[in-house]
Amino acid sequence: MITLTLKGKLSIPLEADSVTPDNLHDKSNHQIKEQTVYWGNKKKTIGDFFEVEGERSDRITVVGDCAKVKLLGHKMSFGAVHVKGNTGYNTGSYMTGGAITIDGNTADYLGAMMEGGLIDLKGNAGHFVGGAYKGETAGMTGGEIIVRGNVGHETGSFMRRGLIAVGGNAGDFTGLFMLAGTIVVLGKAGERVGANMSRGSIILMNQARLLPSFLENGVVATPAVEIVLGRVRELGLAPAGGGRYVRHTGDVNAVGRGEILMRVVNRNHLQV
């Protein structure tokens, strides 16, 4: 186990993409301290900002309020990063494997462009969870992201594969330009869910106002949903089971083969 403890409070952000098992697993304690991080416009080392305990491990624990620490677990492909606190922008971006657990909150772009692995966030996330960076036409292509709190806008934008499960509420444009994959929102979802989605599934446990470009396609009780929700439970969230879902297909302005499944609470919602 490698433990990095943040020495003080940061006001200027730190880009810490060197903090991955891929980079640190074969390094001595001294070498870890010498690894590069970027603090504002200065090139610094991990040892400048963190107390470092342990060495040569694929398990990294980061302790402290790292809300200004960006890019933790960036591009990691194996091992585990456990953050006992908050994290900053781009946590777990481009990760291909391994697991990141965050006890606190995080900023925007959690797991952006993710290809594989697991991210478990106990608190809230910002915008673009599992999303695509600006201009990219493919976002998350694999892996799983669990957020126990709330998420911001554009969750899973341009998603191609994988699972994003949100325990709390989601902002607007969940599943924007989604190409495939699955998004589950246990709380309330904001406006414009699935805008421009071509394929893929969005499962909503509460009512949401959909765009005109989604067509209602009957009420279904599908085993596929139960399989997804089973996995979500395994990952530690607790969606209700066994319900029926109104199936909406769209976005007809895109390819139109996506689906939004909204859990039926009572019949009245159909007039909403």
Partner: protein, 120 residues
């Protein structure tokens, strides 16, 4: 190519471009007397505002509120930016391309954040 007429101390400049909005009208006729714009032809209200008020409230070189020689203000600016660990350069939308280029060069040199009004 600018037609400049001298008439009772008034200089008239034609084909003037208005530096207010991105419509960038380039047919203004500006009359100047004693380094003040006294008449704006072809311009809208906003253009008139820009030119007719242009001689008012000129900024002066200052450091911490005190007027200083120009070079001292520039020197202080360099000192502040050289010492900064995370500078921000913002603006650019209301000046010309040469100044914009210099802002980018400076941002590149000092590792700054650089943004313009596009993001606002």
């Amino acid at each position: 190519m600018t037609a400049v007429k001298q008439d009772e101390g008034i200089t008239v400049t034609e084909h003037v471009v208005c530096p207010f909005c991105a419509t960038l009208c380039d047919d203004l006729v500006i009359h100047v007397q004693n380094n003040q714009v006294v008449k704006v032809r072809n311009g809208c209200n906003l253009a008139r505002g820009v030119f007719e008020n242009a001689h008012k409230e000129w900024a002066t070189p200052r450091v911490n509120g005190k007027e200083v020689p120009y070079d001292s203000a520039v020197e202080e600016a360099a000192r502040i930016l050289a010492a900064s660990n995370n500078p921000l350069i913002y603006g650019l939308a209301a000046t010309d391309v040469d100044a914009q280029k210099k802002c980018i060069e400076l941002a590149d040199l000092i590792g700054a954040n650089l943004d313009n009004a596009s993001s606002v």
